[in-house]
Each structure stands twice: as structure tokens, then as C-alpha cells.
Symmetry: C2
Subunit: 137 residues, 2 copies
């Protein structure tokens, strides 16, 4: 786990990691949230909507932004204040996602950084775009 | 589960539900994301930062927006396009959260709704404020 202090950060710094989406992740996410929407839970329903299989919950994909901030950039001192995400393409079980964040702004007076975030699948398609405001505390 | 069609929706409609945050939710969220940040996983570390106990991952609290859209408003036909969240106050194990969404805009040409979302704890404190853009498909 990284543990950057505010003074060690600079605009342009980036971190990334890979995750593979599993059916267990979908089950765990449903267990947490109670989101029983059939698009994520019923293979036949997902097919009827034109998908090759169950679609991962968008907010499950967004969950990896927690790891991006809390483990990678800035790591231990992270306190997420604000998150904006756009879901650009569907995510399926078996997809290998690259979660990436790059510092675009540092505001010393409040020890806050802005991270531009992208999550890309194994075909190079962006599945999530967004930005985060994170305090370094 | 609700299953509103676009034509059945109107500005001002709202839905809400309650959830109690459990340590199992934190464990499940860590299992999904690999976010091992000690603020969420280490009681002593959380105390050292001035908290009464481990702090729930912000993105775990945000996960309930998945349920709000996919089960309640609009329910089955929900496809989340965009989410903005601000984390206003910390959430702890045992907190009873009220997750609420209210329709603030309906755009018929693209069958999209905007939801103003708030998550409030048992003391009436807002822990999350935000908005969502959701397609009804």
C-alpha cells in the first residue's frame, strides 16, 4: 500500500492496477446492496436486452475507485470527498479491467488532490470515466 | 421491485429505503475491491484518526445508489449513466441509513431521468449528497 504525503505528490503522477470481474464479485455486491435488478442477476434477462451475459453493476465497477485512492494514490492518507463517474460501456464477468488515476490538480491550502480516473477493459474500451476529489489527511 | 416505464414517471416522485451498516458489508466490500486501507479495516488506526470505530468505505455507502435506481426508481428498466456523489460525514458500523432519491428532471427524447439523491444517518445527518442520470430502457 502506498502512503504518500501531500508534499510528495505532483500533477501528472499516476497509478494503475488490474482486476478481473468474477461472478463472486457480483454475488458479494448483491449481498451488500440488495440490488436484485435482473440485468445483473438473470442471464436470460440480460440476453433479452442484447447482452452476452449478466452485466456487472455500474457501482461495482465504480467500487474500484475506493482501492485506487485508498491503496494506490495517495494510499493510506486518502479521504475521498467527491466522486463523479460516467459509465461508458457495459462490463461483463471475465472482463479484465485496468483502473487508472492521474493527478490533475493539487490544492495545498486544503491538502486536496484531483484525480482523473479511467477504467478500461481488455479490448481497450473505456468502461468508466470520472474524477475524484481526495483529501490527504 | 418497481418497474416504472418512462411515461409513468414525473418530476417530484421519490422513493426511499433503510439499510443498517454491518461489519459483514465492510468485509464483503474489501473482498470485492481489495481496498485494505486501515481507516476501514483497523479499529486502532481509526481511533488514532479521531473516529469511534472503523469508517465505512465511502464507495460502499455509494453502492446503495445501485439499489435505489435498480430496485426502486425507476426499478427494473434502470440503466445508470452517470453518478456524482459528495461524502459529507463519516459512516460507521451500526449506522442506520436512509437512502432517498427524487426525480428532478425528465428528458423524454432520450428517456432519461435525473435523480437527486441523499443518504442520511439515524441522527438526521446527511452522509452523502449527489445526483444520478439514469436511462429507462
Amino acid at each position: 500500500m502506498n502512503n504518500y504525503s501531500f508534499d510528495e505528490l505532483s500533477v501528472g503522477m499516476s497509478e494503475d492496477f488490474e482486476v478481473t470481474i468474477t461472478s463472486e464479485m457480483l454475488e458479494n455486491f448483491k449481498a451488500i446492496t440488495g440490488d436484485v435488478n435482473p440485468l445483473h442477476n438473470d442471464e436470460e434477462f440480460a440476453h433479452s436486452k442484447g447482452h452476452p451475459g449478466r452485466v456487472a453493476f455500474g457501482m461495482l465497477t465504480a467500487s474500484f475507485l475506493s482501492t485506487l485512492a485508498g491503496v494506490y494514490l495517495p494510499g493510506e492518507k486518502s479521504l475521498i470527498q467527491q466522486v463523479e463517474t460516467k459509465f461508458a460501456n457495459p462490463v461483463y464477468i471475465g472482463d479484465v479491467l485496468t483502473v487508472k488515476g492521474e493527478i490533475t490538480e493539487l490544492i495545498e491550502s486544503v491538502q486536496r488532490l484531483e484525480l482523473k480516473v479511467t477504467i478500461t477493459n481488455q479490448n481497450g474500451k473505456k468502461v468508466l470515466r470520472g474524477k475524484m476529489q481526495i483529501l490527504v489527511v
